[in-house]
Protein backbone atom coordinates (compact mmCIF):
# COMPACT_ATOMS: atom_id res chain seq x y z
CA UNK A 1 0.00 0.00 0.00
CA UNK A 2 3.02 2.28 0.11
CA UNK A 3 3.83 4.11 -3.11
CA UNK A 4 0.30 3.55 -4.26
CA UNK A 5 0.46 6.45 -6.70
CA UNK A 6 3.02 8.66 -8.31
CA UNK A 7 4.03 10.62 -5.23
CA UNK A 8 7.12 8.50 -4.66
CA UNK A 9 9.11 11.17 -2.86
CA UNK A 10 6.35 11.87 -0.38
CA UNK A 11 5.83 8.20 0.27
CA UNK A 12 9.52 7.59 0.92
CA UNK A 13 9.64 10.60 3.20
CA UNK A 14 6.57 9.44 5.03
CA UNK A 15 7.99 5.95 5.50
CA UNK A 16 11.32 7.16 6.82
CA UNK A 17 9.80 9.63 9.25
CA UNK A 18 7.18 7.10 10.37
CA UNK A 19 9.91 4.54 11.07
CA UNK A 20 11.81 7.07 13.19
CA UNK A 21 8.64 8.02 15.03
CA UNK A 22 7.68 4.44 15.84
CA UNK A 23 11.21 3.61 16.96
CA UNK A 24 11.24 6.68 19.17
CA UNK A 25 7.82 5.89 20.62
CA UNK A 26 8.92 2.34 21.45
CA UNK A 27 12.00 3.77 23.14
CA UNK A 28 9.79 6.11 25.19
CA UNK A 29 7.75 3.23 26.61
CA UNK A 30 10.60 0.73 27.05
CA UNK A 31 13.65 2.78 28.01
CA UNK A 32 15.12 2.21 31.45
CA UNK A 33 16.42 5.76 31.61
CA UNK A 34 13.97 8.61 32.14
CA UNK A 35 16.10 11.20 30.37
CA UNK A 36 16.55 8.94 27.35
CA UNK A 37 12.78 8.47 27.24
CA UNK A 38 12.31 12.25 27.24
CA UNK A 39 14.83 12.67 24.42
CA UNK A 40 13.13 9.94 22.38
CA UNK A 41 9.90 11.83 22.89
CA UNK A 42 11.60 14.81 21.20
CA UNK A 43 12.23 12.54 18.21
CA UNK A 44 8.57 11.54 18.06
CA UNK A 45 7.35 15.14 18.37
CA UNK A 46 9.71 16.40 15.66
CA UNK A 47 8.66 13.54 13.42
CA UNK A 48 5.04 14.47 14.02
CA UNK A 49 5.84 18.05 12.99
CA UNK A 50 7.39 16.73 9.78
CA UNK A 51 4.30 14.65 9.09
CA UNK A 52 2.15 17.74 9.57
CA UNK A 53 4.28 19.44 6.91
CA UNK A 54 3.61 16.49 4.60
CA UNK A 55 -0.07 17.04 5.33
CA UNK A 56 0.45 20.68 4.27
CA UNK A 57 -0.50 22.00 7.70
CA UNK A 58 2.40 24.38 8.18
CA UNK A 59 1.04 26.47 11.01
CA UNK A 60 0.26 23.40 13.10
CA UNK A 61 3.75 22.05 12.40
CA UNK A 62 5.37 25.27 13.60
CA UNK A 63 3.13 25.32 16.66
CA UNK A 64 4.02 21.70 17.35
CA UNK A 65 7.73 22.53 17.31
CA UNK A 66 7.24 25.62 19.49
CA UNK A 67 4.92 24.11 22.07
CA UNK A 68 5.94 20.46 22.24
CA UNK A 69 9.61 20.41 21.34
CA UNK A 70 10.18 23.75 23.00
CA UNK A 71 7.96 24.12 26.02
CA UNK A 72 6.58 20.71 26.94
CA UNK A 73 9.94 18.98 26.70
CA UNK A 74 11.54 21.58 28.94
CA UNK A 75 8.70 20.98 31.40
CA UNK A 76 9.33 17.25 31.27
CA UNK A 77 13.05 17.67 31.83
CA UNK A 78 12.31 19.97 34.77
CA UNK A 79 9.95 17.33 36.12
CA UNK A 80 12.68 14.69 35.81
CA UNK A 81 15.15 16.99 37.51
CA UNK A 82 12.89 18.07 40.37
CA UNK A 83 11.81 14.51 41.18
CA UNK A 84 15.50 13.58 41.31
CA UNK A 85 15.37 10.71 38.88
CA UNK A 86 18.63 8.85 38.82
CA UNK A 87 20.85 9.80 35.93
CA UNK A 88 21.44 6.45 34.33
CA UNK A 89 19.62 3.18 34.21
CA UNK A 90 16.88 2.65 36.69
CA UNK A 91 15.46 -0.75 37.44
CA UNK A 92 11.92 -0.17 38.61
CA UNK A 93 10.22 2.02 36.04
CA UNK A 94 7.62 -0.60 35.11
CA UNK A 95 4.72 -2.04 37.02
CA UNK A 96 4.94 -5.60 38.26
CA UNK A 97 2.37 -6.88 35.77
CA UNK A 98 3.47 -4.71 32.86
CA UNK A 99 3.43 -7.60 30.40
CA UNK A 100 -0.38 -7.51 30.40
CA UNK A 101 -0.06 -4.27 28.42
CA UNK A 102 1.47 -6.01 25.42
CA UNK A 103 -1.56 -8.16 24.44
CA UNK A 104 -3.91 -5.25 25.18
CA UNK A 105 -1.98 -2.89 22.93
CA UNK A 106 -1.64 -5.51 20.18
CA UNK A 107 -5.34 -6.30 20.36
CA UNK A 108 -6.25 -2.62 20.09
CA UNK A 109 -3.82 -2.21 17.20
CA UNK A 110 -5.32 -5.20 15.43
CA UNK A 111 -8.88 -3.98 15.77
CA UNK A 112 -7.99 -0.42 14.78
CA UNK A 113 -5.98 -1.44 11.73
CA UNK A 114 -8.70 -3.81 10.62
CA UNK A 115 -11.31 -1.06 10.85
CA UNK A 116 -9.08 1.49 9.13
CA UNK A 117 -8.02 -0.79 6.28
CA UNK A 118 -11.58 -1.96 5.87
CA UNK A 119 -12.99 1.55 5.91
CA UNK A 120 -10.52 3.59 3.86
CA UNK A 121 -9.11 0.85 1.67
CA UNK A 122 -7.09 2.99 -0.73
CA UNK A 123 -8.64 6.39 -0.42
CA UNK A 124 -6.07 8.86 -1.62
CA UNK A 125 -5.37 12.24 -0.17
CA UNK A 126 -6.12 14.91 -2.78
CA UNK A 127 -3.01 15.48 -4.81
CA UNK A 128 -1.35 18.77 -5.50
CA UNK A 129 -2.96 20.62 -2.63
CA UNK A 130 -0.89 23.62 -1.79
CA UNK A 131 -0.33 24.38 1.88
CA UNK A 132 -3.43 25.24 3.85
CA UNK A 133 -3.42 29.01 4.15
CA UNK A 134 -3.56 30.36 7.64
CA UNK A 135 -6.38 32.83 6.99
CA UNK A 136 -9.21 30.25 6.88
CA UNK A 137 -7.80 28.64 10.01
CA UNK A 138 -7.84 31.90 11.94
CA UNK A 139 -11.28 32.71 10.54
CA UNK A 140 -12.54 29.37 11.76
CA UNK A 141 -10.98 29.89 15.19
CA UNK A 142 -12.52 33.32 15.66
CA UNK A 143 -15.94 32.69 14.15
CA UNK A 144 -17.19 29.10 14.19
CA UNK A 145 -15.10 27.91 17.10
CA UNK A 146 -14.96 31.04 19.19
CA UNK A 147 -16.62 29.44 22.20
CA UNK A 148 -14.13 26.55 22.41
CA UNK A 149 -11.38 29.12 21.99
CA UNK A 150 -12.61 31.14 24.96
CA UNK A 151 -13.04 27.96 26.98
CA UNK A 152 -9.49 27.04 26.07
CA UNK A 153 -8.21 30.39 27.30
CA UNK A 154 -9.97 29.75 30.56
CA UNK A 155 -8.51 26.25 30.78
CA UNK A 156 -5.00 27.64 30.25
CA UNK A 157 -5.56 30.30 32.91
CA UNK A 158 -6.87 27.71 35.36
CA UNK A 159 -3.93 25.43 34.52
CA UNK A 160 -1.39 28.18 35.17
CA UNK A 161 -2.94 29.15 38.49
CA UNK A 162 -3.47 25.51 39.45
CA UNK A 163 0.12 24.58 38.67
CA UNK A 164 1.42 27.48 40.77
CA UNK A 165 -0.85 26.63 43.69
CA UNK A 166 0.06 22.95 43.55
CA UNK A 167 3.78 23.29 43.13
CA UNK A 168 4.71 26.19 45.40
CA UNK A 169 6.26 25.62 48.77
CA UNK A 170 4.75 27.73 51.52
Amino acid sequence: MLAADVQVAQNIGFGLIAAFMIAGALKVVTSKNVVHAALSLVLVMSGAAAQYLLLSAEFVAVTQVLVYVGAVMVLFLFGVMLTRAKLGREGDLNNAGYKIGIPIALLMLGVMSWVLIDGWEDTKLPQGTSSIPIKPVSDSIFTDYLLPFEALSFVLLAAVIGAIVLARKD
Binding site: Q51, T83, K99, P136
Partner: protein, 99 residues
Amino acid sequence: MLVNNFLLLGAVLFCIGVYGVIARKNAVLVLMSVELILNSVNLNLLAFSVMHGNVDGNTFALYIIAVAAAEVGVGLAMVLLVYRNRKSISLDELSEMKG
Protein backbone atom coordinates in the same frame (compact mmCIF):
# COMPACT_ATOMS: atom_id res chain seq x y z
CA MET B 1 -0.38 9.39 -0.46
CA LEU B 2 -3.07 7.23 1.00
CA VAL B 3 -5.05 8.56 3.89
CA ASN B 4 -4.53 5.19 5.54
CA ASN B 5 -0.78 5.80 5.83
CA PHE B 6 -1.41 8.55 8.34
CA LEU B 7 -4.31 6.84 10.06
CA LEU B 8 -2.32 3.65 10.61
CA LEU B 9 0.67 5.59 11.89
CA GLY B 10 -1.69 7.31 14.31
CA ALA B 11 -3.10 3.94 15.40
CA VAL B 12 0.39 2.53 16.03
CA LEU B 13 1.40 5.55 18.09
CA PHE B 14 -1.87 5.40 20.02
CA CYS B 15 -1.37 1.75 20.93
CA ILE B 16 2.24 2.34 21.96
CA GLY B 17 1.00 5.16 24.18
CA VAL B 18 -1.67 2.93 25.72
CA TYR B 19 0.96 0.30 26.42
CA GLY B 20 3.07 2.97 28.10
CA VAL B 21 0.20 4.12 30.30
CA ILE B 22 -0.48 0.52 31.37
CA ALA B 23 3.11 -0.58 31.83
CA ARG B 24 4.87 2.39 33.37
CA LYS B 25 5.10 3.00 37.08
CA ASN B 26 6.99 6.28 37.03
CA ALA B 27 4.46 9.13 36.86
CA VAL B 28 6.56 11.29 34.51
CA LEU B 29 6.79 8.41 32.04
CA VAL B 30 3.01 7.93 32.18
CA LEU B 31 2.59 11.60 31.27
CA MET B 32 4.96 11.12 28.33
CA SER B 33 2.84 8.21 27.10
CA VAL B 34 -0.25 10.42 27.30
CA GLU B 35 1.56 12.89 25.06
CA LEU B 36 2.11 10.09 22.52
CA ILE B 37 -1.63 9.42 22.52
CA LEU B 38 -2.48 13.09 22.01
CA ASN B 39 -0.04 13.33 19.11
CA SER B 40 -1.62 10.38 17.36
CA VAL B 41 -5.01 12.08 17.65
CA ASN B 42 -3.57 15.21 16.07
CA LEU B 43 -2.20 13.18 13.18
CA ASN B 44 -5.65 11.74 12.53
CA LEU B 45 -7.34 15.14 12.68
CA LEU B 46 -4.92 16.65 10.18
CA ALA B 47 -5.20 13.69 7.81
CA PHE B 48 -8.97 14.02 7.75
CA SER B 49 -8.66 17.78 7.41
CA VAL B 50 -6.65 17.34 4.20
CA MET B 51 -8.86 14.53 2.98
CA HIS B 52 -12.04 16.60 3.23
CA GLY B 53 -10.41 19.89 2.27
CA ASN B 54 -11.73 21.47 5.44
CA VAL B 55 -9.74 23.56 7.92
CA ASP B 56 -11.69 22.49 11.01
CA GLY B 57 -9.19 19.69 11.60
CA ASN B 58 -6.37 22.21 11.77
CA THR B 59 -8.32 24.31 14.27
CA PHE B 60 -8.91 21.36 16.55
CA ALA B 61 -5.31 20.18 16.24
CA LEU B 62 -4.24 23.60 17.53
CA TYR B 63 -6.74 23.34 20.39
CA ILE B 64 -5.44 19.90 21.30
CA ILE B 65 -1.86 21.17 21.38
CA ALA B 66 -2.90 23.92 23.79
CA VAL B 67 -4.86 21.52 26.01
CA ALA B 68 -1.89 19.13 26.04
CA ALA B 69 0.37 21.92 27.23
CA ALA B 70 -2.04 22.75 30.06
CA GLU B 71 -2.34 19.07 30.95
CA VAL B 72 1.41 18.62 31.19
CA GLY B 73 1.74 21.69 33.38
CA VAL B 74 -0.88 20.61 35.89
CA GLY B 75 0.21 16.96 35.71
CA LEU B 76 3.82 17.73 36.48
CA ALA B 77 2.77 20.05 39.32
CA MET B 78 0.79 17.17 40.82
CA VAL B 79 3.73 14.81 40.35
CA LEU B 80 5.95 17.32 42.17
CA LEU B 81 3.45 17.53 45.01
CA VAL B 82 3.33 13.73 45.31
CA TYR B 83 7.11 13.58 45.25
CA ARG B 84 7.39 16.20 47.96
CA ASN B 85 4.97 14.35 50.23
CA ARG B 86 6.19 10.80 49.67
CA LYS B 87 9.73 11.01 48.24
CA SER B 88 8.63 8.75 45.41
CA ILE B 89 6.61 9.02 42.21
CA SER B 90 5.73 5.36 41.87
CA LEU B 91 2.07 5.26 40.99
CA ASP B 92 1.48 1.85 42.60
CA GLU B 93 2.29 3.28 46.02
CA LEU B 94 -0.59 5.75 45.87
CA SER B 95 -3.22 3.37 47.15
CA GLU B 96 -5.00 5.38 49.85
CA MET B 97 -8.17 5.54 47.77
CA LYS B 98 -8.38 1.79 47.40
CA GLY B 99 -11.66 0.75 48.96
